[in-house]
Amino acid sequence: MKPLALWKRVLILLVCAWGLIGAAPNLFYGQVERHNDAAAAIEAAGGTASPEQTAALAEWPEFLPSSLVNLGLDLRGGAHLLAEVSVEDVYKTRIDAMWPEVRDVLRDLRDQVGSIRRAPSPDGVLRVTISNPAGMAAALEAVRGLGSSVVTLTGVGQSTIEVTAEGEDIVVQLSEAEKQATDDRTLQQSLEIIRRRVDEVGTREPTIQRQGENRILIQVPGIGSAAELKALIGTTAQLTFNAVVSRTTDVGADPGPRNRLLPSIDEQGVYYIVEETPVVSGEELVDAQPSFDQNGRPAVSFRFDTTGARKFGDYTAANIGAPFAIILDDEVISAPVIQSHIPGGSGIITGSFSVEDSTQLAVLLRAGALPAKMDFLEERTIGPELGADSIEAGKVAAMVAGVAVAVYMVASYGLFGLFANIALGINIALIFAALSAVGGTLTLPGIAGIVLTIGMAVDANVLVFERIREELRVNKSPARAIELGYERALSAIIDANITTFITATVLFTVGAGPVRGFAITLGIGIITSVFTALFVTRVIVEIWYRWRKPATVAV
């Protein structure tokens, strides 16, 4: 038998060693997890550690690897939410915000277009009727001038708005390219805000991902329920600064077109009628801090970005003496009167706050408001006990399966069966090491995948061993038979495993959650079992063969 080249043998043994060492932390899951948590906490605190943290840190030696397999929600317990972001809401806000600008440019052309009036239109579309259609061309050109070019790779050169004429109406809406760009921004912003809010509660490794065009998947291990998570994220939290039309105590007051009637948060029974289109929205806020006003009462100071600052500056300059509403979640937090022009884009919100209120409001403002409403399409809560039960059941099943397969292999192939069992052990270690290394998530179907792998992993060895038997039957020398066995079984092993790998890939691509977890373990299991069956057992057989130099081989 021609032995494998030395470098190959060394490489194979190195991979095995990596697998065994890499999988080891998972045997001490609790300890390693506490160690990792403590290490992360200490780093976050800038190197200072509490006695408990030091103790937790000492539970697992620093020099050993400490990557663990992530446990999926179905094993750890926690909450899962799939949210759909109403991206169209943003179109409406954007288009509504354009009305003053459109009005102003058309006003400048009054001698050509005549009088202008905003006509009723569906959300996200601005319809303006002009009394003199002869000036339509000029009007269209002027309104088009308000658009700017879209800043994305695909949308280069396209305008942000689409302006068309329909009879006497000018119809303004966002262009397709801009809608797409807006969707992206809305999603990014929502993701960021959700992440910040979830991080506030300091839970371990939440998954917050964009899915498809307008969805966000949120998985938070260790949280009590999906309802709790939903409350944490908040569904409609939106901060805006709007012009106040009037103040009333009549809940049934008619706010009039394009106005809204909103309750005041701290004055019982008081309602404000505000303009629907905000002057500045919370997205333009860059910072908010708790502070005190000149009378020493708690307040929140804030600062806008450049565009926000400009809009805010212009508005305050034009409306000195008028009240101005700060609205959070459809409630008026406060409605201060504008004392003077505020040019720098920073200001202060006063109200009857306590210090806690102002601190909390600052946090809320800093975290930002969600740019659009979210609908929850899927909610799942899995209790930690159920997960623990599943882990236990999975462990027992894997153990029983492992032992049964091992016994069966030895009964069928004797010593070679034992070799296959060693390879099986290394195979399982490699799966765990690989899962830990890539940060894969182990789910309940994932455990089933491992159990299935235990059963199927020996397949490649069975193919080789059966082949060796066949070769032995035609009276080849043992060495030759072993060599041919490995050689001839190769194409069947490769074909068989590639086809299974194809299904694993499909499962991974289209599957979500637990199914994807299964696909990962199945896929990794296929690679590792081919490796162990072809190389690991081969090295073992070679070592054994050169040591014993048997005259005959019994497979």
Partner: protein
């Protein structure tokens, strides 16, 4: 040779085509029965595919399905199904039930308020009750999930078919894909007949069956291809028999090790994973059968073009022409 545990004798010479019409007929019949059962009885879709909410309850008092139902009828939630879950792994005073609530009009996922009401109602009947899992899927997502599941099955089958076509010949690809469809349909039929819960994890199981069954089939095909080169004049049918016989011992070994592992999963894996384990277990049995009796039989029916087969000695194109 030392003693060995054997599933098949050292050398077998079974004629797998002897009862080919019986096995073929049987397979056809089972497939038809499965499709009819599927069409007539429908599948017992879990919330993944039909939307709605399932709440798992666990209490130390025995489950009284009627009382549970009565408590929930008061809430006017539409269709409510309550099933008690039995599992040998449960503790003596552990009683588990699954409450399924149909999707509520006008909302995607069930609101926390509704779930809270349900929980309160059930707590009046069973004070010790806890809710280890609450899952809610909106109709929008569930519709997409069905579509995605079908797409996954089709994509996987096509992927496999293309690969086999590239590596072998189109006859093999067609034979194995029909065998796969046979396996998948019969498994789905079993789920329809016994009205077992069919959800996303079952789709994962079906795809696994696809992978396993093709794995098994490919090993036979691989040997067949090898033997076709080796025995160029042997009739196709005999080469096939020889190939299956040669690989029989491996086929049985692998099926048994896999079934042993899956059996452990089925018995000890707990009730949450049981449907999944059952589907794969059943599928492995079926996949083994189909790779021995279905796939290659189809290839035989279609016929292989053995163009490189040299003519038997003494025969030429004119050898049967009377001169």
């Amino acid at each position: 040779m030392a003693w060995r545990f054997r599933l098949a004798p050292e050398k077998t010479n079974v004629d797998f085509f002897k009862y080919q019409w019986l096995t073929f007929g049987g397979s056809m019949m089972l497939t038809v029965v499965a499709i009819v059962a599927w069409a007539v009885m429908g599948l017992n879709f879990g919330i993944d595919f039909r939307g709605g909410t399932t709440i798992r309850t666990e209490a130390s008092e025995p489950v009284n399905v009627a009382a549970y139902r009565e408590a929930l009828t008061a809430l006017d939630l539409g269709d409510v199904a309550i099933t008690e879950v039995f599992d040998p792994s449960f503790a003596e005073n552990q009683f588990v039930a699954q409450v399924r609530i149909s999707p509520q009009d006008g909302q995607e996922a069930v609101t926390p308020e509704t779930i809270l009401l349900v929980e309160e109602q059930l707590r009046t009947i069973a004070p010790s009750i806890t809710f280890p899992s609450v899952e809610s899927v909106g109709p929008k997502v569930s519709g997409e999930l069905i579509w995605k599941a079908i797409a996954a099955m089709v994509a996987a089958s096509l992927g496999i078919m293309v690969y086999i076509w590239l590596r072998f010949e189109w006859q093999y690809a067609l034979g194995s894909v029909i065998a796969l469809i046979h396996d998948i349909f019969i498994t789905i039929g079993v789920f329809a007949i016994f009205q077992l819960k069919f959800d996303l994890t079952i789709v994962a199981a079906l795809l696994t069956i696809l992978g396993y069954s093709i794995n098994d089939t490919v090993v036979v095909f691989d040997r067949l291809r090898e033997n076709l080169l080796k025995y160029k004049t042997m009739p196709l049918r005999d080469v096939m028999n020889l190939s299956v016989n040669e690989t029989l011992s491996r086929t049985l070994m692998t099926s048994v090790t896999t079934l042993v592992a899956l059996g452990a999963m089925l018995i000890y894996g707990g009730d949450v994973i049981r449907g999944f384990a059952f589907a794969i277990f059943f599928g492995v049995v079926l996949g083994t059968y189909s790779s021995v009796f279905v796939a290659k039989n189809l290839v035989l029916f279609i016929g292989l073009d053995r163009g490189d087969k040299p003519k038997a000695p003494g025969k030429s194109e004119f050898s049967n022409v009377e001169a």
